[in-house]
Amino acid sequence: MLVILAAIGWMIGFNTIRNKWNFFWYGRGSVAHVKKFYSTVGDNDSTAFLQLFSAKVMQEEGRENLIAIFRCGVPEDKWLGKHHHEEIIGKWMSGDTAVIKVAVSAGSYDKDSVLFKLLKENGDWKIVF
């Protein structure tokens, strides 16, 4: 019995450590990419915002649609208006894909958790859906 429990504990521990190692080694830059997603919106920098998405997303959605939704998130007033609060609450590597769980709120609204899926494209992380 003890052996089984020890084996389960070891597997859980091993997987956790492996996941952390994978993320540390392979997922470098992905968290910064997610943070950049919010900073481009906060800075109203649509050019930088568009560069965060994969070529497939750009092709599927088109520049105009992405800009339209980008504008909805831009704070009305940089100092007094609404702004995003994001907090990384989880991160995993799955093959070539980094998945980052973020709790996000805008202004005083309740926090909601969202998943960012990131894929390496020509050496850079890109957001995919």
């Binding site: 939704i69 980008f70 909805c72 996000v104 969202v114 859906f129």
Partner: protein, 464 residues
């Protein structure tokens, strides 16, 4: 240069009205042309216009209101063609022609539970205390009365999308159904849910029956479900979600005319969330927190929502989102379509709290009814008030109604405004009182001695 022309008819509070007459500017009737005193008045008024354009161009500015009913409006309903409007108070119903802005007929001294327009544009139905009445859409005359010697307290009345059946949802969570050819009562399907529904609605395309149900099988009687069912056989297609509310709470269901969107509010007349569901994907697009919701209406395409904001109407945009846009909106915490808006448009301020809003299914006209019995018509694309629906017999004041030719569309727009009110936006030419000379008319009497606009009238032409 062609001079502007207009039709002018005086409408007195005693119910008398002149036939509208067509005038060109240089042939105005004697009492409205600019005499020596009028010339001075016109000059002063024009000066005031230029000096304070904001005051006169303010579409919300109201001097005086004209009443359509003597008590607060509870409901407004357009027919399918947008030509006719029904206005309902607790004890009265009036039928209006939108083209002429005239009262076509009325039904008084009855307790009105629920009203609905027939899809065939021939009649409408209403539930009174003990019967269901079918009335003509021409003059509100009674066509058929489905008499039942029982108390019928209905929450909603509706036709099936093709108009073959009339369905009444009673407060005791019972659904009753009548065949529209024979007017015989027939069983409502699906029979297994007909005693559990607290609210329901057909999509106009006839595809879905949307229900709010409180299943008796659930141990907690407060659990309710929003269900999408097949309109053909009542079969459950998808349960959108469950929520906790008393079964006695009134929920609000609206579906856009193109059947692409469902709007849902958990509790009417309370601060609540307005949910917008996509009926193609059966997924939720937005949630928007309303401070209160006495009146909510939709544009025909469901992309704009008209919400009362106490004394005026706000128009919000709620664009359809693509899959990627919906994901990014979630990442940005843009769950409220307030943040997906173009600037809010405020329409036609009322002096009383707005109780009801209806949007024409074909045109751009929005009707809003308030707690004092006033019904105003606005064109939301032009962001302008288009006057009142005016029943002289409900008023103690008088109005001026006139038609203005819209040079852009070539249409004639009818306006009814109180005497002495500012010139409506978009008017080419109108006659009005010289500022400061207006005197309210005496209260209406049964004799024909009451007349309108005790003032020095002046004609002002505005460049458009």
């Amino acid at each position: 240069m062609e001079l502007p022309k207009f039709k002018l008819a005086n409408v007195a509070a005693d119910g008398t009205a002149e036939e509208p007459q067509l005038f060109s500017v240089e042939k105005l009737p004697l009492e409205t042309t600019t005499g020596r005193r009028g010339f001075l008045g016109a000059g002063l008024t024009a000066l005031a216009l230029f000096a304070n354009r904001k005051l006169f161009s303010n579409k919300n500015y109201i001097d005086k209101d004209l009443l359509a009913h003597e008590s607060g409006i509870n409901g407004l309903y357009f027919n399918n063609t947008g030509e006719t409007l029904l206005s309902v108070t607790s004890r009265e119903l009036k039928l209006w022609s939108l083209a002429s802005r005239k009262l076509l007929g009325k039904v008084s001294d009855i307790y009105i539970n629920a009203v609905t327009m027939a899809p065939n544009n021939q009649h409408f139905s209403l539930v009174t205390e003990k019967r269901i009445e079918i009335r003509s859409l021409k003059n509100a005359s009674l066509i058929k009365s489905i008499s039942k010697d029982e108390y019928l307290e209905a929450k909603a009345l509706m036709y099936t999308p093709r108009g073959h059946q009339l369905v009444a949802l009673l407060r005791k969570r019972e659904v009753r159904c009548w065949n529209c050819d024979s007017w015989q009562e027939i069983p409502f399907f699906p029979s297994e849910i007909s005693k559990e529904i607290t609210n329901m609605l057909y999509t106009p395309d006839g595809k879905y029956l949307i229900t709010i149900e409180s299943p008796e099988s659930k141990s907690d009687y407060r659990i309710m479900q929003i269900n999408i069912r097949s309109a053909a056989n009542g079969k459950l297609i998808k349960q959108l979600r469950e929520f906790n509310k008393s079964i006695y709470v009134d929920t609000l269901l609206l579906v856009s005319n193109d059947s692409r969107r469902l709007f849902f509010i958990e509790e009417k007349n309370r601060p609540a969330a307005l949910e917008i569901w996509n009926l193609q994907t059966l997924e939720k697009d937005y949630t928007y927190k309303l401070k209160e919701n006495r009146a909510v209406a939709l544009s025909a395409d469901g992309l704009r929502v008209f919400i009362e904001a106490d004394y005026f109407i706000e128009i919000w945009q709620s664009p359809m989102l693509s899959r990627v846009q919906r994901n990014i909106a979630k990442m940005l915490a843009v769950s409220r379509y307030e943040e997906l808006k173009e600037p809010v448009i405020e329409l036609c301020k009322h002096a009383g709290m707005i109780n009801s809003i209806a949007v024409s299914p074909v045109g751009t006209i929005v009707a809003s009814g308030d707690s004092r019995g006033v019904i105003k018509l606005s064109d939301w694309t032009k962001q302008e008030c288009q006057g009142y629906l005016f029943d002289p017999r409900a008023n103690q004041s008088d109005g001026v109604s006139y038609n203005v030719y819209d040079k852009v569309t070539g249409n004639t727009i009818s306006y009814t405004m109180p005497c002495g009110s500012p010139i409506p936006s978009g008017a080419v030419c109108t006659c009005n009182c010289v500022a400061g000379t207006y005197k309210p008319p005496p209260p209406p009497s049964h004799s024909n001695d009451g007349r309108i606009c005790s003032c020095v009238p002046v004609c002002i032409c505005m460049a458009v």
